[in-house]
Symmetry: C2
Subunit: 290 residues, 2 copies
């Protein structure tokens, strides 16, 4: 069996890193599973004036100080994008590609993605729609698929991986092709994808502004996984995870902090909520041990 951690923290933005501090102080075993760039929006912030203690600091500099802080406390960050979490009775399994991590409690600090779901996206979830090419790509061997890429880099990596398996891949890079060269079996879509179309619960096509492309699979790669998709059964409201004052979600043992819990999207709030969520997770762990 895999090692079962006390807790997993999903996300390495301010909320996730703040949560890690209390877990470390309280001597819990845990992992932070985060993206390569912890908090892309923080990295891009030119100047931050409202995080107490750092007047007029640059976002990248502040993020580096945050990363230094956890490093000094011997906390390491695992570069993993968790695509789904399963709550199996009294523990959680987080999947990243083909890897799995187990824990007794979980802290979700995945930030926010502002993109709306495509029309029909929810209807075809698991019936053609996937958020992880590494996980589900092999199901589409020699078939036609599309990939809608909202990310800076990750979507391209996923597309490259898919192209080696599938017959044809239609690729729509929301942030542009940059300097990339289309792959041999890739068609770069020029029109914006709008909706999904299918029959008998099976995806058949991706509907664009003025045309339609026939596909059996659609991969949608966002910087941040949608919360309700990430952990099935998790209560959300307009995309935000519903939490109580202790940052507990409706799923026992699952806590959330930061922008994924809703507006206002504020650095100080994320840090504060991360601290609360981790203390609540500690209480949860201690109560179960008693």
């Amino acid at each position: 069996m895999e090692k079962r951690f006390d807790a997993l923290i999903i996300g390495c933005g301010p909320a996730g890193l703040s949560a890690a501090l209390n877990l470390q102080i309280r001597k819990k075993s845990f992992l932070i599973l985060g993206s390569k760039v912890c908090s892309p929006w923080l990295e891009k912030a030119e100047r931050i004036d409202n995080y107490l203690g750092f007047p007029g600091i640059n976002g990248t500099a502040l993020r580096d100080l945050f990363l230094d802080h956890v490093k000094k406390m011997d906390i390491s960050i695992q570069s993993e994008k968790v695509s789904s979490i399963y709550h199996l009775g009294d523990f959680f399994v987080a999947k990243s590609g083909t890897k799995e991590y187990e824990s007794k409690a979980i802290i979700i600090a995945t930030g926010v993605h502002i993109e709306k779901p495509l029309e029909g996206e929810n209807d075809y979830l698991g019936r053609g729609v996937s958020y992880c090419a590494t996980c589900d790509g092999p199901l589409y061997r020699d078939k036609k698929v599309a990939l809608v890429d909202f990310t800076e880099e990750e979507g391209w990596e996923e597309a490259t991986f898919l192209s080696e398996i599938v017959d044809k891949i239609f690729y729509y890079p929301v942030k542009g092709m940059k300097t990339r060269t289309p792959l041999s079996n890739m068609e770069v879509l020029q029109e914006k994808p709008l909706a999904l179309e299918g029959k008998d619960d099976k995806l058949q096509a991706l509907v664009l502004e003025n045309s339609t492309v026939p596909v059996e699979g659609l991969f949608i790669i966002r910087e941040t996984q949608r919360a309700d998709v990430l952990l099935p059964g998790l209560e959300t409201k307009q995309g935000a995870i519903v939490v109580d004052e202790n940052m507990a979600t409706n799923v026992p043992g699952a806590f959330a902090a930061g922008d994924c819990t809703g507006k206002p999207y504020q650095l100080a709030k994320a840090v504060g909520q991360g601290g609360i969520a981790s203390l609540s997770a500690v209480s949860f762990l201690d109560s179960r041990r008693a």
Copy 2:
């Protein structure tokens, strides 16, 4: 008429200072009314590891950085202890001694006092019990009063002021007499005060462990004013101010942040809540202007 500010922040601990940042960024007119030592507990913290960005920092050093931050943003702190706030329809009046400050919104960030009320304290509030000698002292000219002092310094100042007015003052310094010399009409109590006693709604005596002292007035001086006494009508639960997710209290225009809203007592939480409370106050102010 006095200048009516957009907002008053009551308290200059981490929550109050954090709240000030957003009010300044959003160009609201406001004052911070705080004690001489902003956040005594922070000052005493030997080492803080869980405020993201400052690994292993000393409490006094961190507080100084916080104060530097607000100073750099041209925010000044008024040294005032607010003893009561009145909500007068669409504005607030905060009283500090004989001074009054007016505002459209208010952010309460007064921290926490852990002392329990004396038995009967609530019953004789306004009928012999007072929290401000400067305000109510003159009512007890030539009478006998007691003063229970939970503070480091302020209670002694209040006692000194009272001694010039009253016939006799019984003084109980919870933190000891230090190097002070009792005043001529002062009796320093050696027994711990336990309860209040009276008749027909009027205070008559302070009950100690083994004896009773006859008084008409009792002054209780704490570092932090009790929240429900500070703003009459404010909903509290076990001493903590009840707030919603936007840090709004049950009083329209009154917001709260930090330890005064309850456990866990955490620096990061206070800073985060201060940020939220101030944004909510900004929304409140903007909606009323519209």
